[in-house]
Subunit: 167 residues, 2 copies
DNA sequence: ATTTACTTTCAATAAGTTTTGAAAGTTTAG
DNA sequence: CTAAACTTTCAAAACTTATTGAAAGTAAAT
């Protein structure tokens, strides 16, 4: 396969993946672009490569920095900012896990806690709700535990051990 | 906490969680409603409870059925269709994992495979891309393996064993 | 064969999200 | 201080997705 095609294909696929994970398409595409770039890129280069506006590029680069997936970099003697992506896939995955845990798992756990133990466990509907909430909470807590281990685990230890175990 | 408040809180939280997972808000809310309902509900009851239109209710109930998370149910002597949710949280999670694997992991693996081995490994940019693609592929394949185990595993075996192992 | 009780579809509309580009802001250099 | 080089902001426009509701479809009951 030829370089430019492969690059486009990868950028598109990453964008699509992003969309279905609630990540803005462009943000994912910028990320893909930076991931495969050996050198950091400037905002102008990103705009140029992806055919997007200055504002769009700027906003999404900021968002990537917020997520801890992209860093600013300065070239000596240059005024312009350059950006490079974290390239260790493991670190990237942990970063994403950390953010999603904070943004999603925590709020739902909070809600489940608030909602557990509803008054009037004599009525059928209250019983059903309490049972469901209890199960969901257990599941969410277990997921949280696993995610926590993943986030804290070092290097390739996680998959290595787990896949071995459950083969 | 009082029942109706708790119910609303749970439905809202589930809707929000859905949104950030690329699941339509309403679809997630209908799911929450059915999960905590001891009896199956009709389309009209869903419309009523969530204040949504007939078309919206119908479309999202179909989508939930497609995902294998909700079933049709007939009450004897009644013509109208009723719907109930799968209530085993484990089964629900596996269902979701199965669907997302199909819709997301498979396409990205396909793209990564197509894109692996780009011509001209002498240039820096091609080297960088090949390296990145290789790493991403490895990661995606490992995730796929773990997801597969999860999907096929029975009951509470999965978390039980894994959490014990990595404590 | 007609009415009744539903379910499904779909074009129009509303709501939400992303993108643009020009203007305002900031920092460095001279 | 002023100009130049750059970054950030934000209101308006474009695009995407979700929702409505009325009309069409289906099937049981009379």
């Amino acid at each position: 396969m030829e370089y430019d095609h492969a690059k486009q294909r990868l950028i598109q696929a990453w964008g699509t993946l992003g969309s279905s994970w609630g990540v803005n398409r462009t943000m994912a595409q910028i990320h893909a672009l930076l991931m495969i770039s050996p050198e950091p890129l400037s905002a102008d280069e990103v705009m140029e490569e992806l055919n997007i506006s200055r504002g769009n590029a700027n906003m999404n680069i900021r968002a990537l920095i917020d997520w801890g997936m992209v860093y600013k970099e300065f070239k000596p003697g240059e005024r312009r900012e350059y950006f490079r992506s974290e390239k260790d896939v493991w670190d990237l995955a942990r970063q994403v896990a950390r953010e999603r845990r904070k943004r999603e798992l925590e709020p739902i756990l909070k809600a489940l806690n608030e909602v557990s133990k509803v008054e009037g466990a004599d009525s059928e509907k209250v019983k059903e709700m309490n049972k469901m909430v209890k199960d969901l909470k257990e599941f969410a807590e277990k997921s949280d535990g696993l995610l926590d281990k993943f986030i804290k685990s070092d290097e390739h230890w996680f998959f290595g051990n787990i896949l071995k175990l459950i083969k």
